[in-house]
């Protein structure tokens, strides 16, 4: 087969496409999508792709699953998207459905070239196809070269022998590694409670108070009881996991450091929000707070929505969890303040529903038809445009997608710019979703780009779904359906604009199609400009802008409606506390964050009760989550952890990298993967366990023979750099190394009989030696490659750690 078939399109025939990767399908369609692969690693590369005019024939490949990084590509009509990380619930997953752009996420490629981090991807320019007719699994096909795959990664080199029992099939990581504690933690909260309504029911049976049942009298009390506080914290842990847990594997943004700003903001919110809640409550009273949230039942185009109510609750828990996790405070710290502050979101939620009853959407079957009973539903029906014409439908979908993208980008890739309510069942068996996109405000300096846009665009979207489609709106005011793709079923829409946040309801106007057209164009232009501006910001500026957006926006609607906005600004709404400043350096340290956040937020450790753990009761016992991260549960990951411990850093992703990262054991850096401090301690524990089960005296005897060759080997290596390239002495040294390598093989073979992981050292040494002998002299001592010296050093370290000996005691450095 000719290699150049890759470059000659006309010669590409059906049978030359072969499966090169698979992942999670986000966008279901019967037609196969074909395009040219292009790796998008930085905002510059995204912009470059758009300007070269080939975007509509390009299938972009990015690392993470966040939206804004890919925003311009989505808006410019890229043919398809592939991500290496991320889940369908991520923003990018949502947006790709909104835009109708095929997208397969968390793809594992089996052949291709390597990224700078060692991930395998198809080379730029490869023709690839996305097969996305299966609702769950997406397949990527590529034109395969004849001969061996382009990749140099053979399955039997390097760490590969250690992966067999560690991970499942590509793209099935979460399911394939059932044995691991992390997979269990992602499947069930603290390994126990499932997601969704079932989880809500199970979890609530374990609570001791009815604090989550909102009743007038309990809302008038100034504070919760300690038990009520702890019940709310406990449920908050599950609720956060439930709505955000799947996003934990969303992956990283090439544009906006989201995790960093969200966590820093949470520290600030835990610190400053209780006082802000007091400020509002003093101004309008307890009933007044309930009334503020009643706005959501009467108005459209308002940020006084469910998301913003939830946002006045959960940061108190997540921020507290992170603050405890960073050792800034103990669980009992500010418990009284918390007991008062939690009344605020309870009152807001009571106002949202307009009746006594369960607090969160997660307790109401994820149904939030807040406008039910208002005049709006009638008005929507009367003013809706029906989209039987496919072009017209396309136009409306594009309007929705473009404005949503700008809303996301303005809000630094978070959901504050978007708010759904519903579903509202319709007579024809379909449903209505009412969706706000917030496109302008005056409170953030970068919103100047959106000058002239309405404050909010509201879309009343009518769907005629196929039978059996499940529709939910969670506490984040976000609609999800099963199956996931609902935009194709859009049947009608009415669009409104609210020009300013305080535009009277009577002045909210309908947007005609000609204005929609203009808005779509403006939106795309502004998105591009904002994207460029953010791309030019320093990392710190991006993070701090995100912090500001979070800290200000969560409170924004409530402060304004209560008339205390100016007062709040005076009291430092835009400031951050010293503890928050300090946390910046910790939470932007990828290692530390990777260790801390999964533990605190996913394993639920951060949702510890304010009272003595005994009193807090069984459901909240801190140990459950830990069991799943215990050495026993982590044992399947030992080979990968061990390889990292031995080598310090590995540029190729370990097979179970995603799982290990989620567990906070491994961090990825631009130069490769390494263990976090927690990863190191887990590794040490696993080593200690291993020691109990091996015959260490037999291994010691074998190790003596290794040591007998160690001195000559090191003396030879030490002489290497003294001699010129190609000199006789270098040949002599390689001959000496060959002798040393030959000498320790029996010891290695015996070691491998005692501990199988020693087996791969033999071929690794032989490979290094063969390359050195063939004239590739970096394979003598260079630390940059698997040289004889590198492998030897690793073997020595492995013996030392396996036998628990120290270099100092042994005197070998």
């Amino acid at each position: 087969m000719p290699q150049h078939a890759l470059h000659e399109e006309e010669r590409v025939t059906e049978h030359e496409f072969g499966l090169i990767g698979s992942g999670i399908n986000v966008y279901e369609q019967d037609d196969v999508v074909e395009g040219v692969a292009r790796w998008l690693g930085s905002p510059e590369e995204v912009m470059d792709l758009i300007s070269n005019g080939e975007i509509e024939t390009t299938i972009g490949i990015s690392r993470g699953g966040t939206t804004t990084f890919m925003a311009p590509a989505l808006a410019s009509g890229i043919a398809g998207l592939i991500t290496l990380q991320g889940a369908p619930e991520s923003h990018l997953g949502i947006l790709s459905r909104e835009f109708g752009i095929p997208c397969v996420m968390s793809v594992t490629f089996t052949e291709g070239v390597q990224t700078d981090r060692g991930e395998i991807i198809p080379a730029d320019g490869t023709r690839i196809r996305l097969e996305i007719s299966d609702p769950s699994s997406g397949r990527v096909l590529g034109v395969r070269a004849a001969g061996p795959p382009a990749t140099e990664i053979a399955p039997d080199t390097a760490a590969a022998p250690q992966t067999e029992d560690a991970a499942g099939e590509p793209g099935e990581l979460a399911e394939g590694s059932d044995a691991s504690g992390i997979a269990a933690l992602l499947a069930r909260y603290r390994g126990k409670t499932p997601p969704g309504s079932e989880g809500d029911r199970v979890f609530r049976t374990g609570l001791r108070t009815d604090v989550l049942e909102l009743a007038e009298d309990s809302l008038r009390r100034p504070a919760l009881t300690p038990d009520e506080t702890d019940d709310m914290i406990a449920y908050g842990g599950w609720n956060v996991w439930d709505v955000l847990g799947s996003r934990a594997t969303e992956g990283e943004s090439g544009l906006i450091p989201r995790q960093e700003y969200e966590t820093i903001a949470a520290v600030e919110q835990f610190n400053s929000y209780p006082a802000m809640f007091e400020l509002i409550t003093e101004a309008v009273g307890a009933d007044g707070v309930i009334e503020l949230a009643g706005t959501a039942r009467r108005e459209i185009g308002t940020k006084a929505n469910m998301l913003h109510a939830w946002c006045c609750c959960m940061p108190l828990f997540t921020g507290r969890g992170i603050t405890i996790g960073l050792d800034y405070c103990s669980p009992s710290h500010r418990a009284d303040e918390l007991a008062r502050a939690l009344q605020f979101p309870r009152r807001l939620y009571r106002g949202l529903w307009g009746e006594d009853g369960p607090m969160f959407s997660s307790m109401r079957g994820y149904q939030a038809p807040l406008l039910e009973g208002s005049d709006w539903l009638t008005r929507f029906r009367d003013e809706a445009v029906w989209l039987d014409d496919p072009d017209r439908k396309q136009f409306f979908m594009k309007f929705n997608a473009s404005t949503q993208l700008l809303a996301f980008l303005l809000h630094f890739d978070n959901r504050l710019g978007v708010g759904d309510s519903g579903p509202y069942p319709t007579e024809d068996g379909g449903f209505l979703i009412v969706r706000d996109h917030f496109l302008h405000d005056t409170v953030y300096h970068w919103f100047d780009i959106a000058e002239g846009m309405p404050h909010a665009i509201t879309q009343a979207m009518y769907f005629r779904p196929p039978a059996g489609m499940e529709v939910t709106v969670n506490d984040l005011s976000t609609v999800f359906t099963k199956p996931a793709s609902y935009m194709p079923h859009l049947a009608g829409m009415a669009v409104y604009a609210r020009d300013s946040w305080d535009t009277p309801v009577a002045d909210i106007r309908r947007v005609e199609e000609h204005e929609m057209e203009a808005l779509t164009a403006q939106t795309q232009d502004k998105t591009m400009r904002l994207y460029n501006r953010i791309a030019a910001m320093s990392r710190r500026d991006r993070i701090m802008a995100g912090v500001q957006n979070y800290v200000v926006d969560f409170l924004l609607p409530w402060l304004r409606l209560a008339g205390v906005w100016e007062k709040a600004v005076e009291r430092g709404l835009y400031e951050i506390a010293p503890v928050t400043s300090d946390s910046y350096y910790k939470l932007t340290d990828a290692n530390l964050a990777a260790e801390l956040l999964p533990r605190v937020l996913i394993a639920g450790e951060g949702f510890v009760a304010t009272q003595d753990e005994q009193v807090a009761g069984g459901t909240v016992s801190v140990d459950d989550g830990d069991d799943l991260l215990s050495p026993t549960a982590l044992e399947p990951h030992f080979p990968a952890l061990h390889a990292l411990a031995m080598r310090g850093m590995i540029s190729d992703a370990p097979a179970d990298a995603a799982t290990l990262e989620a567990a906070g054991l491994v961090a990825s850096t631009p130069s490769g993967y390494m263990l976090t401090p927690r990863g190191h301690s887990v590794h040490s524990e696993l080593m200690a366990r291993e020691r109990e089960s091996i015959d260490s005296s037999a291994l010691s005897a074998v190790y003596e023979r290794f040591l007998a060759a160690n001195g000559p080997m090191k003396a030879a290596c030490a002489r290497w750099h003294a001699y010129g390239e190609g000199s006789e002495a270098q040949f002599e040294i390689i001959a000496e190394l060959a002798e040393c390598v030959e000498r320790i093989q029996p010891a290695l073979r015996r070691s491998a009989e005692l501990i199988p992981r020693f087996a791969p050292y033999i071929p690794r040494l032989q490979d290094a030696l063969a390359k050195a002998e063939a004239g590739e002299h970096e394979y003598v001592v260079s630390p940059r490659v698997d040289s004889v010296h590198t492998v030897w050093m690793e073997i020595h370290e492995d013996y030392l750690q396996t036998l628990d000996r120290s270099r100092e005691a042994e005197g070998s450095y």
């Binding site: 005897a701 000559p712 750099h721 010129g724 006789e728 000498r743 001592v781 050093m793």
Partner: protein, 533 residues
């Protein structure tokens, strides 16, 4: 031409017809040269390359070789006052290969030929050092098994690992020796030879190793003829481990890393040569020899002076002191750093040993580039010096301290220049070393991983500065009396072996080094001259 009619195949060091590499091989010619300079070389004789070629043709040693060997051995016995094969005061010899060109891959050396099981105990009694005696025995047997009898390393190592654990080092060595004898006899189907048989087998093995796979591959690579063949050197063993007035050393006639005039080297009392170079022991400077054995030290200085004048080059000298008597084992042109190459070449011009043209030819472009790496303008004041150690990799580095490899990587990613400070280095430190501009380690010498890696990466390094203790939080450390914190500015002088606090000015090498300035001037003049003509 043989010295006497009945000596067709061999020469002693004194009756050889000059240092003829083609006939005597490189090693033999070197020894002859040393003897002609009146250096104290252990008595030896050389079996010629002609004999080697004859062996390769016939696949057997010439019939008349044995008688000649017996006579040469007798000469060595006279010189040493001991007897080959004697059970009470045995004379031991080494058998080495020596081709006219260096030939990696050939059988190199069999040591302690002539020892027997009975003689081991006598040697132990004679020296009062049983460990030494059994060590010699084990050494012979190991070399004999693998290089002479060609028993595979696998079989040997397997046999050794099957032995029961033994805490006593001497007993363990005896057990290994017994196992080795068994392996030798079982694997090759022939009994372990008596001294004369050992000698003949070793010589034959050297000749035959000319055709080993590696040697052939090397010749093919280098375009060397297969017909040259090798010589064999049989030399009296001398021992640096026979008591407190014995020892071994490796020395350079000038400092090979800085080029500073005056001998530079490592010495260990009561030790064999390989212990000095293994890097597993803390060696002493040559001044230690000056203190304990001043007359030997004086003799050694004279040797250095003779060698430099004879070779007009930096020499690398291996020597052993056996009970107060100095023996020079080997000399060769010394390998040197770029800076040293420049300084030594200019110094030799000034000493009148070589001319400018020769000086320019002696420094390779690589060495000159290395010599031009920036240096610290001067030694820092004593009050900011926090550690001194081995200048393990030359150059000047300034950056902020990081005390663990992860932090080093982070700081580097944040755009800082990082100095990695570690007690020792393990593979897990490598990412940190790669991220650092300079390296400091508490333990370890030139053969330590840190030193090897730093030199390979061209990172300045100071190794073996003493105790480095990192605080549990990984953010501070003590180096001897000094305490440093992560982020502290450090200057690492890989030329002087000094670690100091603060950022000290770095200067272009030619500003700090007049030799380099002069050398560059010569070079410029010659280039100008060449282009003018």
């Amino acid at each position: 031409m043989p010295a006497t009619p009945d000596m067709r195949h061999t020469y002693s060091l004194s009756d050889a017809p000059g240092p003829d590499r083609d006939l005597l091989g490189g090693k033999g010619a070197g020894l002859v040269e040393m003897v002609s300079l009146r250096l104290p070389v252990p008595p030896a004789f050389i079996i010629t390359t002609a004999c080697g070629r004859e062996y390769l043709r016939e696949r057997r040693l010439p019939d008349d070789l044995l008688a000649e060997l017996r006579q040469r051995i007798a000469e060595l016995e006279v010189a040493s006052g001991r007897r080959f094969g004697d059970a009470q005061a045995p004379m031991l010899v080494s058998v080495r290969s020596g081709a006219p060109v260096s030939m990696p891959g050939m059988m190199d050396t069999v040591l302690n030929v002539g020892l027997t099981a009975q003689a081991v105990d006598a040697l132990a009694r004679e020296t009062g050092d049983e460990a030494f005696a059994v060590g010699c025995w084990e050494r012979l047997l190991e070399g004999f098994a693998t290089v002479v009898r060609g028993v595979s390393r696998g079989v040997v190592e397997d046999a050794l690992m099957d032995l029961p654990a033994c805490q006593d080092a001497v007993e363990a060595s005896r057990a290994r020796s017994a196992a080795l004898v068994a392996v030798i006899e079982a694997a090759s189907g022939a009994v372990f030879s008596e001294p004369e048989g050992q000698l003949l087998e070793a010589i034959e093995a050297v000749f035959a190793s000319w055709d080993s796979r590696r040697a052939k591959a090397y010749r093919q690579h280098k375009g060397i003829s297969d017909d040259i063949g090798t010589a064999v050197v049989v030399q009296l063993m001398v021992f640096g481990n026979r008591g407190e007035s014995s020892g071994s050393g490796v020395a350079f006639t000038r400092d090979p890393s800085t080029g500073t005039t005056g001998a530079y080297g490592d010495f260990l009392f009561t030790a064999q040569g390989e212990e000095v170079v293994s890097g597993e022991h803390d060696t002493l400077p040559l001044s230690a020899l000056e203190e304990r054995l001043p007359s030997v030290a004086g003799e050694l200085r004279a040797v250095f002076s003779i060698l430099e004048r004879d070779t007009c080059d930096l020499c690398d000298v291996e020597f052993t002191v056996e009970q107060g008597k100095l023996w020079i084992l080997q000399t060769r042109p010394g390998q040197r750093s770029g800076r040293a190459a420049v300084r030594i070449a200019t110094a030799f011009v000034h000493e009148g040993l070589i001319d400018v043209e020769e000086a320019l030819a002696r420094v390779t472009d690589e060495q000159l580039t290395a010599a031009q790496a920036p240096v610290f303008a001067e030694e820092p004041p004593e009050d900011v010096v926090i550690a001194r150690g081995l200048p393990a990799s030359p150059g000047a580095a300034v950056g902020m301290a990081a005390l663990d490899p992860d932090r080093a990587c982070r700081l580097q990613e944040d755009g800082h220049d990082v100095i990695l400070v570690r007690p020792t280095t393990s593979p897990a430190d490598l990412p940190g070393v790669l991220s650092a501009v300079g390296v400091v380690t508490g333990r370890g010498g030139r053969t330590s991983h840190a030193a090897v890696v730093a030199r390979g990466l061209g990172r300045p390094a100071v190794c073996g500065v003493g105790d480095v203790r990192i605080a549990p939080d990984g953010l501070s450390a003590t180096l001897g009396q000094a305490t440093i914190r992560e982020g502290d500015e450090l200057s690492v002088d890989g030329d002087r072996g000094i670690v100091s606090l603060g950022r000290w000015p770095v200067a272009p090498a030619h500003d700090a080094d007049p030799s380099l300035a002069r050398f560059l001037q010569w070079r410029a003049e010659r280039t100008a001259g060449v282009s003018a003509s």
